[in-house]
Subunit: 299 residues, 2 copies
């Protein structure tokens, strides 16, 4: 959706390293915003995005010592009409035209508070994949449910490209100072809010240590909540409103809340997703840590 | 869906004439049957289907006088698991996995009595198109709403193949004796029922003449109803239950019921669809006549 940060650029660099041609799309997708959400104000920084993309290079050596430098081949900048020929409105009840839905995998985790979000994502990504037909596709782990759901969609629709295992979910890029996951929406944070925004990742890390050290699920969540309530109290003193939406452990295959009591109950199984959503002021931050091997969850 | 008749075979012959390679799919699609419908009993005649297909040929001459004969190149016979890797149940509320829906075009005409029918069709055809990636696709006019809806779907999803205008809607094949549209479900008709099954087409023809001679829409529908009620009364005497579901005129672009009063109000516009559904015994027959040029409705 543009407003590129180093998280996006790391995906571009990985694609440059692994492919002859790299194509990007920048499209703020109306179908994945609810009527009350920030479609109108979502950051749009196209000139800067294109400048950043032009700077991304990957050098490959060759036998004759003459190196070759790869750069992005194309940026696909469709109009809303290109992507929604039948038109698109925010109110789902009024929408007309073709929509793609991944039923049974769109209502948990991030889908709880945004019930039609993944329908909007699945629809636009089907179109983008059809337009570009990429051999490999690169998505960020920050939107883990999106990546896993799209792998399932590729498989279910028998999409020729990308194959589900060619849809790569790449590590979340973070601010080295406090681990805050990079996100275009971080631009909404005031300086003071930015100061406390690392809390979510720190809470998830605490829960991860608890889990890997053999604590029960309840204890893991409690250790995350602990960090968040301490930070929330401190933030209030500084006039910052901070509100936790959820911290939860989910099965990476079914997306259902994990009902296993502890790590030993899930040993040998697919990966576990430890995720959360936190509001800092008016900005909604999400983050996650995957425990286990995500590639075992390719459907 | 197999149980091939000459309507299907005419599509095969047209494809042979227009393409180097012809690929067919035969798949009875669970997702387009409602729980109370005839999925279990739908006619399956694969050995005979394959025999019929092997007999379809198209001869092309060549400069050296050596002719070449084209036959179907492949028949795609996926399993239910191939097409629905996440599984499929008849109860829509319980379904999981990826579904494609053409909103705003699936609830009129045939969608009235089968609200999830076109969702099942759009989903399976997306998968078949992805699996085969045909340059041209051939569908029968008997399922006119399906053909037009799939054209819209191809456009909306930016499907690389087929292009919307390469999805060809071909004339309905009919029994020359009474004009009954060929259909796999005609096999359900008893001999006596078969005797009256031509009524629907005769009624639609009467409405067509009325329309083209400048009568109002109400008069057109009345002339069709007239034929059907006469036939129904006669059928009752023979112990055959015949029940009209609808006869209607719809706009071929929006699928909405035509509110124009007569032909002169729609002159110069897109095509008009005159369609109906009639139950003869337990068999539901559908048919339609298109007035105007369908190719003006390529979205």
């Amino acid at each position: 959706m543009g407003a590129l940060h180093d998280g996006h650029l790391s995906l571009v660099r990985r694609s440059l390293a692994e492919n002859d041609l790299t194509v990007l799309s920048i499209f703020v997708n109306p179908a994945q915003f609810a009527p009350h959400e920030d479609l109108a104000t979502y950051p749009r920084t196209l000139p800067r995005d294109l400048e950043l993309l032009a700077q991304q290079t990957f050098s490959i050596g060759s036998a004759d010592g003459q190196g070759q430098v790869r750069t992005p081949s194309a940026v696909f900048l469709p109009s809303v009409h290109d992507m929604y020929p039948t038109g698109i409105v925010q109110d789902v009840a009024q929408q007309k035209g073709t929509f793609v839905e991944v039923k049974g995998y769109s209502h948990q985790m991030e889908g709880q508070s945004q019930p039609t979000f993944f329908r909007g994502v699945a629809t636009v990504v089907t179109k983008l994949f059809n337009a570009v037909q990429p051999t490999n596709a690169y998505f960020g782990q920050k939107d883990i449910q999106q990546g896993l759901l799209l792998r399932r969609m590729c498989r279910d629709l028998l999409l020729p490209n990308p194959a589900p295992e060619r849809l790569h979910i790449c590590p979340t890029a973070r601010d080295p100072s406090d681990g805050l996951a990079l996100s275009s929406r971080n631009a909404y944070l005031s300086e003071k809010e930015r100061g406390v925004a690392g809390t979510l990742y720190q809470a998830l890390q605490a829960a991860e240590s608890a889990w890997t050290s053999g604590k029960t699920k309840t204890e893991c969540v409690a250790s995350a909540l602990d960090i968040i309530s301490t930070a929330t109290a401190r933030a209030v003193d500084e006039g910052i409103e901070m509100k936790l939406e959820y911290v939860e452990l989910n099965d990476s295959e079914t997306f259902e809340v994990l009902d296993s009591a502890s790590k030993k109950d899930t040993a040998g199984c697919e990966a576990v997703i430890l995720s959360g959503a936190l509001r800092v002021g008016k900005t909604r931050l999400i983050d996650n840590i995957v425990i286990g091997d995500l590639n075992r969850t390719v459907p």
